[in-house]
Amino acid sequence: MNRLEILQLFRDEERRSKSGLRQLSAVVWAQLKMMLAYKSWLVMDLLSTFASVVMYYFVGLQVDPLRLSQSGWGTSYLAFSLVGVATSNYLWACLTRLSHSIQHEIRGGTLETIAVTPVNMLVFFIGLTARGYLVSLIYLVGVFTVGVYGLGANLSFNPQSFLIFIVLFMLMLVSNQALGLIAAGIIMVYKRGDPLVFILAAVNEFLAGVLYPLELLKRFPAVQFLSMLFPYTYALDGMRRVLILSASMPDVNVLTDIVVLAVFSLILVPIGLKTLEWGYGRIRREGTTSSY
C-alpha cells in the first residue's frame, strides 16, 4: 500500500450516521475484549465464586437456626447469606467501577483520545461500567447456581418472585450507580479518592446486612439509622422477602422497599449526572484530563 493508494482511499465519499447505541456497543465490546485478555483472572474469579459459596455453607452450619428465625428470615443461613453475597458484587461494581475505570483511562492517556472523538462522553462513561456489570452477573448467576443447585439453599424462584426481584434489582442498580456517578465525578477532579469509595462500599455492604439480619442492629440505634441512609439496605430487604419469604404483591414491606428505592433513584440520578458533568468540566478547565 503506497501513499497514492492511501490517498485514494480517503477520497471515498462517506455518510456518517451518529448512533449512540453503536458507540455504546463499541465501548462495551472493547471493555469485554480487554477483560478476556486476562484469561487467568477469569478462571480465578470463577473459582473464587465457587469457594465463597462453599464457605458460607460451612459458616451457615455454625449459625443457630432459631436465632435466625427469630429475626424473621427463615431458618437457613445459607439462603439468607446467598442473596447478600450474590448481589453485593453489584454494589461494588456500581459504586467503584466507574471511578476506577475513569482513573485508569486518565492514567493511560486514553480518556483524552476518546474525548476528542464525537462520542457522547456520558455514553462512554456508561460503557465503562459494563465490565463490572458483566463480572457481577457471572458472580450472581454462579452464586445462585452453586447455592441453590449445588448446596440446596431453599430460595423461591417462580415467575412472580422473579419479576419482583428484577424490579428491586434494577432499582438497586440505578440508585447505587447514581452514587457511583457522584463518586466518579469527585474522584475525577481530586484524583485520590479511591480509598474513600472503597470505604463507602465496604461500610455500605456492612450496614445493609449482607451477612447478618439488620434486626441485630436494634441495640445500636445510631448504626441502624445509618444503615437506612443507603439504598442497598432496602434492596436487600426486598429481595430477601421475595426469595426467602416468598413475599408476593401486594406485600407492604416489599412495596415500601420499591418506593424508597425509586425515591432514592429519582433524587440521586440527577445529582450523579450533574456531579459527573461537573467533574468532567472541571478537569477540562484545569487541563488535567491526563494528569494523575
Binding site: R16, Q23, A115, V116
Partner: protein, 325 residues
C-alpha cells in the same frame, strides 16, 4: 480562502505551586490558519504549544478569548468541532492506546466511536495497517509493541477518521528515520492533494522548515512571530550579508572579497563536502550580489552561487525565543 482555525486572544491559565500561583500557559494568542495549510507551532518546552492544541481540540477549556475550528466555536460547539478534527499527541509515546487490545482492535474501536461506516472503516484500517507496516503484527496486543510501533498505530488512528483538520502534537516523535520520512511525506500529501489543514507542533526545526507553509514561533505562552519559514529568516536577520559558494582555494576567494569596497567583513568560511561557503557582511546587498560574481570571474574563479545570507530557522528560533531550551 477559508479559515480553518482561528483564535482570538485565546488564553489559558493554570494553577501552580499548590494552587497559589497563576501561570499563564497561553497568553492572548491570535492565529489564523487557512484551509489546506500546513501550519507549524514551534517553541521551546513550556511555550504553550500543547495547551494551545488541546484547547483547539476541545480538551481544555480556555479562560479568555475565543477560537473557531472549521467555523465552530471550541466551547459552544465542541461536539461539532470534534467531528472535524483528528488529534495526535505524540509525546505520550504510545501510552494513549489500549494496550490490552490488538492494533487492529484499537483502530476498529475508534472507527466505531467516529461513526465511520463499517465497510469503509475495514478498508481504511487494512490500508493504514499496511502503510505503517503493521499488517503482520495487527492482531498482537499493543502492550507487546515497541514505542515506534505504538506511535504508528496512533498515527493510523488519527488518520482513520479522514478529518479535514489534523491537530498533531509531535507526530514524528519516536519514529525511526524511515518511518519519520514516510510519515512526513504522507502528511504533506494529505495537505497538498486532499487539501487537509494540518496544525502541528514540533521540536524539530528542520522538519518545520521542510513541511510548513507558515510557522508560529511561541515563547512563554505568546506567539512571537508568524510567517513563512523564508520570511521569518528575512525579518530576524541581524546583519546585511551575502553567502558565496565556490570550488577552489578559499584563501584566494577571501582575498578577492576583502578587496571589494562593498564588503565590510568576512563572517565565516565554512568548508562543505565539495565546495566552500563564505559569509560576508556587506554595505549594500544588491551591489554585493552584482559585484562579487564579476570580481570572482575576473580572477579566474567561478562561484557556484552568490545569494543573500539568511539565518537558518534554528537561528531565527533562538533569536525569537531568546535561546529557549
Amino acid at each position: 480562502m477559508n479559515i480553518a482555525v482561528e483564535t482570538e486572544r485565546l488564553t489559558k491559565y493554570f494553577r501552580g505551586d499548590g494552587g497559589k500561583e497563576r501561570i499563564v500557559a497561553v497568553d492572548h494568542v491570535n492565529l489564523s490558519v487557512r484551509e489546506g495549510e500546513f501550519f507549524g507551532l514551534l517553541g521551546p518546552n513550556g511555550a504553550g504549544k500543547t495547551t494551545l492544541i488541546k484547547m483547539l481540540c476541545t480538551l481544555v477549556i480556555p479562560d479568555e478569548g475565543t477560537a473557531r475550528v472549521a467555523g465552530f466555536d471550541i466551547v459552544k460547539d465542541a461536539e461539532k468541532v470534534r467531528e472535524c478534527i483528528g488529534w495526535l499527541h505524540g509525546e505520550t509515546g504510545g501510552r494513549a492506546l489500549y494496550w490490552r487490545l490488538s492494533a487492529r482492535d484499537n483502530l476498529r474501536f475508534y472507527a466505531y466511536l467516529q461513526n465511520i461506516p463499517p465497510d469503509i472503516a475495514r478498508r481504511r484500517i487494512e490500508a493504514l495497517l499496511e502503510f505503517f507496516e503493521l499488517s503482520k503484527d495487527a492482531d498482537r496486543l499493543v502492550k507487546d509493541f515497541s514505542t515506534g510501533m505504538k506511535m504508528r498505530v496512533m498515527l493510523a488512528r488519527t488518520l482513520l477518521s479522514n478529518a479535514p483538520i489534523l491537530l498533531m502534537d509531535e507526530p514524528t516523535v519516536g519514529l525511526d528515520a524511515t518511518g519519520a520520512i514516510e510519515t512526513r511525506r504522507l502528511l504533506q500529501a494529505l495537505c497538498r492533494e486532499l487539501h487537509k489543514t494540518i496544525v502541528f507542533t514540533t521540536h524539530n526545526i528542520f522538519e518545520a522548515e521542510r513541511l510548513c507553509d507558515r510557522i508560529a514561533v511561541m515563547n512563554k505562552g505568546k506567539v512571537v512571530a508568524v510567517d513563512t519559514p523564508m520570511r521569518l529568516s528575512e525579518v530576524t536577520r541581524k546583519y546585511r550579508g551575502v553567502e558565496v559558494r565556490f570550488r577552489g582555494p578559499s584563501e584566494e576567494a577571501v582575498k578577492i572579497l576583502e578587496g571589494l569596497d562593498v564588503v565590510k567583513s568576512i563572517m565565516s568560511v565554512q568548508p562543505e563536502e565539495d565546495h566552500t561557503v563564505i559569509r560576508a557582511e556587506v554595505k549594500d546587498e544588491e551591489q554585493a550580489l552584482s559585484e562579487i560574481p564579476k570580481a570572482f570571474s575576473s580572477n579566474g574563479l567561478k562561484p557556484i552561487g552568490v545569494q543573500l545570507a539568511l539565518p537558518s530557522l534554528e537561528e531565527v528560533f533562538l533569536s525569537l525565543t531568546g535561546g529557549g531550551s
